[in-house]
Symmetry: C2
Subunit: 617 residues, 2 copies
Amino acid sequence: MNEQPDSTPLWITLLPSSRRVQSAVGGTLLEVIRLGGIDLAAVCGGMGTCGTCRVRLLEGSLSEITPAEKRALSPQQLEQGYRLACQARALSDVRLEIPPESALEGYHLQLEGHGIAPVLDPLVIAVDLALPPASLDDQRADLSRLNDVLRERGFADVQACPSAAGQLAKRLRNHNWQVRVALQQGVDVTRLVSTQVSGNPLAGLAVDVGSTKLAIYLVSLESGATLASTAVMNPQVAYGEDVVSRIAFANQKRDHAKLLQRSLVETINDAVEMLAAKTDLCKGQIVDAVMVGNTAMHHFLCDLPVEQLGAAPYVPVISAPLEVPADEVGLKAAPGTSIYLPPNIAGYVGGDHTAALLTLHDDQPPGGVQVLVDIGTNTEISLLWEGEIVCCSTASGPAFEGAHIRDGMRAASGAIDRVWLEADGVKFSTLNDAPPLGICGTGILSAVDGMLGAGILDRRGALRETAPGVRRGADGLEFLLVPAAVSGHGRDVAVTRRDVNEIQLAKGAICAGIEILLHEAGLKAEQVDRWVIAGAFGTYLDVASAQRVGMFPAGAPLERFQQVGNAAGVGAKQMLLSRGRRVTAAQIVKRVRYLELTSDSRFTDIYMKAIALEEAG
Amino acid sequence: MNEQPDSTPLWITLLPSSRRVQSAVGGTLLEVIRLGGIDLAAVCGGMGTCGTCRVRLLEGSLSEITPAEKRALSPQQLEQGYRLACQARALSDVRLEIPPESALEGYHLQLEGHGIAPVLDPLVIAVDLALPPASLDDQRADLSRLNDVLRERGFADVQACPSAAGQLAKRLRNHNWQVRVALQQGVDVTRLVSTQVSGNPLAGLAVDVGSTKLAIYLVSLESGATLASTAVMNPQVAYGEDVVSRIAFANQKRDHAKLLQRSLVETINDAVEMLAAKTDLCKGQIVDAVMVGNTAMHHFLCDLPVEQLGAAPYVPVISAPLEVPADEVGLKAAPGTSIYLPPNIAGYVGGDHTAALLTLHDDQPPGGVQVLVDIGTNTEISLLWEGEIVCCSTASGPAFEGAHIRDGMRAASGAIDRVWLEADGVKFSTLNDAPPLGICGTGILSAVDGMLGAGILDRRGALRETAPGVRRGADGLEFLLVPAAVSGHGRDVAVTRRDVNEIQLAKGAICAGIEILLHEAGLKAEQVDRWVIAGAFGTYLDVASAQRVGMFPAGAPLERFQQVGNAAGVGAKQMLLSRGRRVTAAQIVKRVRYLELTSDSRFTDIYMKAIALEEAG
């Protein structure tokens, strides 16, 4: 099997879509498929460890099976032609099947959230003005002319970047010297953001930059109403599903970091364009933006180095509140628009957690004892009591995203999201009621809870070999959820012992984080007045199941749990609409004490106990 | 003579250099030659009116002679094969001669100037620091860590743009947490400009962006010394020699304005790279910049619209002091570098005049009565007395640049720069002692003075037909300076009646401007204590000649004239080295009263009288 000369391009046909992509010999299938613009899951960022980028060879020849593939795929899968796209390279024209669980479609996204409506006091305001026209007797510069009129109206002098000043010059002359100016009223300086046709409404953007999804809100700065919103996949998923993989990718070379930055901003621009069109606004009417995300997303967005985030001691470059020109980031908006990024708390607790914490605060710190849990690949947890806040981040891993689970998948169409073990067998529901393809995070948690209740699993996570539905498969004991005949792809969907262990590690990390915070505060779970569970997984989670498998402490009454949806997005909107909320957010962060669990002497003991499948605490 | 099909590229061979450029049929010779990277004079910006882009066809065929060419070239020139490059198009492969007076080589540039050395107090300072390394017990963000140490040292907290913060992160880790930071100490905020290896010297740039030449100074911010300097042609000359032509070019389409911006900044970058290499600095050690230029150059540099500068009432977009990120302009320097542009005074009096005025000021307004004259295509004039400043701009036109003069040329090699009419005939000197090719500004002024003294010219500018050396040529009466046998190109060099008239208009404009300012202040020329003549032409000018032909008032004693060279460049350096000088410059501009001559009822009368060739006042 000789390789063809490098210069001959090969054709790779992808089924079921029949799309064709061309490649020179050399690149991995993953690289080639992504260059062709097709999203493929790759949880580990192409390191050959997660197995989520599997594809099936139908025709043609690929490079030899690598040791990584032998570890990640079962002998049966290899025999059926399954390969890891991140490992295999085409040696001839090939036809590949992209199995539905590897494609990223119909993904379950969370936009809504709860939170108080802030007093409307946006940073950027509109002022309608009529300026005296320039003449040979009155040759004041445009900006001086504007400032003279603003001063008469009681405003501070404005400064303008060249692009905003240039727009002013043109608009004044095109609109007979009657215009609306958007002014950013900063602490030290007032800036001209844009010049509009008189009366044109002004809008702002609130963006929650999640590792897997972006929630984007177009908000009226005059009414405070959300005019339109959308959720889209974070395009960086194509370069690694979790933050650690993406940092590794960015560290490979400077171009990679740039690619991560650009792909993110381009996706936001595309989404904003769509939202603007929907609401009959033009992008020039967008005059302010607030973006929140974990510290890595914050750094990627601003093109800050992430190398030092990826290794101990996990230090951010900037944690203070940051205002960056939209231009510099590449966000398309009115010429003088700034993007506000609220402060980060630590290397693994970013401005999104700040925003989520903000939603728990009125002008005053909240009364009582509260726990905020924002579940993701990293789960950020804060405990608030008597004006104090202690916070940690715990590596709950990607199992709740369906990764590292043999038949796992993202919360997309066909994912089993809930399981009931009833007398007459296994019942389940799937997302979008599609035929089952695999199990997503809430589904696997629900299955584990059911198996535990039915005695199929013991507390240590071992499957009882003699229990009904349990069988020995290629990966050891497994519990069959969906037989091939019923599934959407003609293959069995089962829960393996290793899958159960992944869930134990994930839920144990969350549980241990909560326990350490309670310990730090000298409080018991019973004393917590409110458990605020945020994020998409947290929203769809069955709290009772989660408590029974030991994700949350046993002592917490169910009615004290509140699933709030996208708290970070809500907090971002509040900061967009109110200068006061930005100040409050910065004050909150100053009160937060961050606990680094990786160097906390209590952590290992508590974690080891927390991985048992039993009610915690 | 049929045109070849559009798709066939043609070869254009340029003599004497024998360079070849390729063109598709369609573009003018001027466009093709410039695309080939060859500088060609084109005073009017390719409008077919100035005649400076003339070339001679040696072989091949060109498009038909246009009416513009018939106006701009004499029948004799047309017969010899001369054409205007901006009008003619190639219809076949052609061989063209670029006559030396059309090429831009060996141009006479002015770098030096006089001025006080300001107190060294630059905006950007260096601070050497040792930071405590990050650890799991000390996870402060890099910027917070820096600020904590700066605070201990008595500095204000710094803000950082992402690129400066990113550089900080990398340098801290590469240099064992011992670094030098460059801090910009602004009024409201202190900014991190860059992070250097400890002890690395910091430098700044002062740039005088003239319409025809750029003077660029690399200055030590620690010693105040000019480390290196250079003068290069403003590349925008290729798109029109004067500001009005360039504004017209920029107004044609958005791309043109961008092209003018980029060509300017790229030329500055190239020059700075050369200066940095010469002084063993890297561009990252350049942490501040001050740029001065007329209002159009200011606007081009910042990519501000210039349309409104080109038509009454000639209003700048911004006249206030402006600080723009170097990044935004495209200037290569340390990541957080800003460019400071001092305030403009009016649409035709820019920050370069502000800088020149600054050189006349100590901390206090200068004593006595002073007149500052900065001669160019537009001549800016200021009169200073008793703390008051009144200022005007007058359209002296490009005659002093050798344009609109039949045998005129720029002050380049071979230009006649001084003429003596002696008993035994005409004597002259040329730049670089090269064989004479044409007459530059100082040469034509000197010739007119000599002709006047010898009685060849009368006060109205008419040549006496019977005077020796006067003959009737294709353009009416003319005075022969250099016969073909002696010239560098084998053609006569003469002064025509029309040339004399051009000089009358130019010197009359300057004289009228001075008179109106004196009138406005109720002063007489005798009362002026100092006449400061700035700019390249002003430096090489023979003041006595200029006074005799009526450019300067008769009542001004010669010893009160001071030819100061590049005053704008000197002022720019002062502002680079001293925050106080920036404040003084801004205060000066607030005291300046600008007189718009185009709407001044006195102007026409005074101007009409001032064009006579006699001592004024």
